[in-house]
Subunit: 302 residues, 2 copies
C-alpha cells in the first residue's frame, strides 16, 4: 500500500461534518469525511477527530492545515474572531493558530465575517467567496450561496461589500419534518411543476406566505394533493420568499451561485425567469480554492 | 364529600389535552383536564380516558357527552366527517354517535368544517364560533382565533362564509425552540417595545420576512440583542405576517378575537393600530357555549 503524503491539508469543518482534503502541488490527492462536526465535539476532541481523518496523510515534518467553518466559532476548537465588512473575504494575517499536542500539525483557522448593520454573520462562506473570486478573477456582482442558511453577498473590487442571511433550508427542514405539514409530505419525491408554480407565486406575492403554508396540509386532507407536490410546493414557497426579500441583491445584477447542484439549478431557473443570468460554481471547488488562497500565509512551515 | 352529578358533560378534546366540564342547569358545576390528548391515545383508549376524568360526575342513568376537537378526526376516537362551508358552524343532525362499553355514557362528536377553495379545514374552532354567535347574537363580521393554527373566519347571517388558517403559533414554537434562533432566545421574558416594532414592520413590509429572521441570531451574537427582545421580535414578526396576509379579512371590518388573554390582547392592539376595532371573547366560554348549543339535539337521553 502506497501512502499519500500531503503538502498541506484543506479542512471544511462545519456543525455536522468534517471534510478534509490531502493537497498536493497540483490539487486534491485524496479526501475524507466524517460526522465529527462541531455539534458532536467538545473542545478537546478536535485534534483527535482531525488525526483520525488526516493522520495517514502526515509525513515526519510539519504539515500545514487550513480549516474554515464553525470550527472557528466560540463553541468550536478555538475562536477566530469575525472580521468586519466591507473587507476582503480572507486575510492571511488574520488566520488563527491553534496549538496542537501532535507536532506534525500546524493548524490555522479562517475567521468568519460580520456586518454591523443590518447585523449578520458568516463562517465558512467567506472561504467559498474567496474561492469563487480565485476561480472568476475580477468578478464583480452578486454571489448567492443557497442552503441551510442561504447567503446573498455583494462583491466588488475583491471585497465583500454587504451580505444577508436567509434561514430557508432550516425552515424547510423544520416545516417538512417537524410541523403538522409532515403528514402527507414526501421525503424524497419531487414535482417540478408544483415547485415552479409555488416559487413564482411566492416571488410575486410574498406578503401571502403566511396564508400559503397550512393549505399544503388542507389540500392533502380534502383535495388530493400528492406528497411529492406538497414537498415541492413548500420548497418553492420558501425559496420564493427568499428571492422576494433578496430582490435588492439580484435585480439587474449578474449572479454566481455556489452550492449543491440541484439546489443551485432551482435558484438559477428562478433567477432566469426574472431575467437575471446566473452561473453555477461547485461548492467544494470554491471551498478548496479559498483554503488554497489562505495557505501561502503559512509558509514556511516545513 | 358531596358528589357532583352532571346533567351533561361538555368535552374539548384536542391533540395534546382533554378538558371536561360537568354541566348543570345553570352552567359549569366542575371542570377537569388531563394530558390524554389525541396524540397520546390509541382508538381503544378514549373511553377509559374520558371515564378517568368524568366518571365521578356520572349518575345511574345515561349522561349526554358532547365533544369537539381532534377527537373527531380520522386518527381520533371516531371520524366525524367535515361539513362543507358555507354552512352554520354546528348542525345538530350531523353529530356523530360513538358506541361505548359503559352504558352510562351517550357520546356525540361535533364535526369539523372544510372549505373547498382555498382548501382549508378546522376541528374544534367551529364549536367556538357557534359559542361566539350564542354569546353575541346577530354578530356579522370577522372572528379571529389566534393560536397554534390561527383561524380567520368570515361570519354572516349565522353561517361560516369562509376561513383561512395560519401556522403562526406552530412556527413560533419551531423557530424559538428548535431552530438556530433558540440560541440567545428567552423562554419566558418579554420586551413589549421589541414586539410592537417588529409587528409593525412585518405588517408594513411582509415581503421582507425571509430577511428578518436570521438577524435575531446575528444581533444576539454581535449587537447585544437581549434574549427577551429576540423572543418578542420573533413573535411580532410572525403575527405581523399573519395580519398582513389576513388583511382582506379584517380591513374595514369589526373583529372579535377568541383565545388566550395575552395573545388576544396582542392581536387587538395590532388591529387597533390599523384602525380596526376588536373585542375579546374568552376561549373556554366560547367552547362551552358552543357545546351547549349542540346539546339539545341529544334530548331525550335520560
Amino acid at each position: 500500500m502506497t501512502g499519500i503524503m500531503a503538502d498541506w491539508i484543506a479542512v471544511d469543518w462545519g456543525t455536522t461534518h468534517l471534510r478534509a482534503y490531502a493537497m498536493g502541488a497540483n490539487g486534491v490527492l485524496a479526501e475524507a469525511s466524517s460526522a465529527d462536526g462541531m455539534g458532536s465535539l467538545t473542545r478537546d476532541g478536535y485534534e483527535a477527530a482531525l488525526l483520525r481523518l488526516a493522520g495517514p496523510w502526515l509525513g515526519a515534518g510539519t504539515t500545514p492545515v487550513v480549516a474554515c467553518g464553525m470550527v472557528g466559532s466560540r463553541q468550536g476548537w478555538m475562536e477566530a474572531p469575525y472580521r468586519t465588512t466591507p473587507c476582503t473575504p480572507l486575510d492571511a494575517a488574520s488566520l488563527v493558530a491553534v496549538p496542537t499536542a501532535d507536532a506534525r500539525l500546524a493548524v490555522r483557522l479562517v475567521p468568519g465575517l460580520k456586518q454591523a448593520a443590518p447585523a449578520d454573520v458568516m463562517r465558512g462562506e467567506e472561504t467559498q467567496i474567496a474561492g469563487a473570486l480565485a476561480l472568476l478573477p475580477g468578478f464583480d456582482g452578486i454571489l448567492c450561496l443557497p442552503g441551510t442558511h442561504s447567503k446573498w453577498v455583494q462583491v466588488s473590487a475583491g471585497e465583500v461589500v454587504s451580505f444577508q442571511t436567509y434561514m430557508t433550508g432550516e425552515m424547510f427542514a423544520l416545516l417538512s419534518q417537524q410541523s403538522v405539514l409532515r403528514h402527507g409530505m414526501a421525503t424524497k419525491d419531487w414535482d417540478e411543476a408544483a415547485f415552479a408554480t409555488a416559487l413564482s407565486d411566492a416571488i410575486a406575492r410574498p406578503e401571502k406566505i403566511a396564508a400559503r403554508l397550512f393549505a399544503l396540509r388542507a389540500e392533502g386532507l380534502i383535495a388530493g394533493l400528492t406528497p411529492a407536490a406538497a414537498r415541492s410546493r413548500l420548497s418553492g414557497l420558501l425559496i420564493g420568499i427568499e428571492l422576494a426579500a433578496a430582490r435588492p441583491y439580484w435585480l439587474g445584477q449578474q449572479v454566481a451561485l455556489i452550492g449543491a447542484d440541484a439546489l443551485c439549478a432551482a435558484y438559477a431557473g428562478a433567477l432566469h425567469a426574472q431575467g437575471v443570468p446566473a452561473r453555477i460554481l461547485p461548492a467544494a471547488a470554491c471551498t478548496i480554492a479559498g483554503l488554497a488562497a489562505a495557505r501561502p500565509a503559512m509558509e514556511p512551515t516545513r
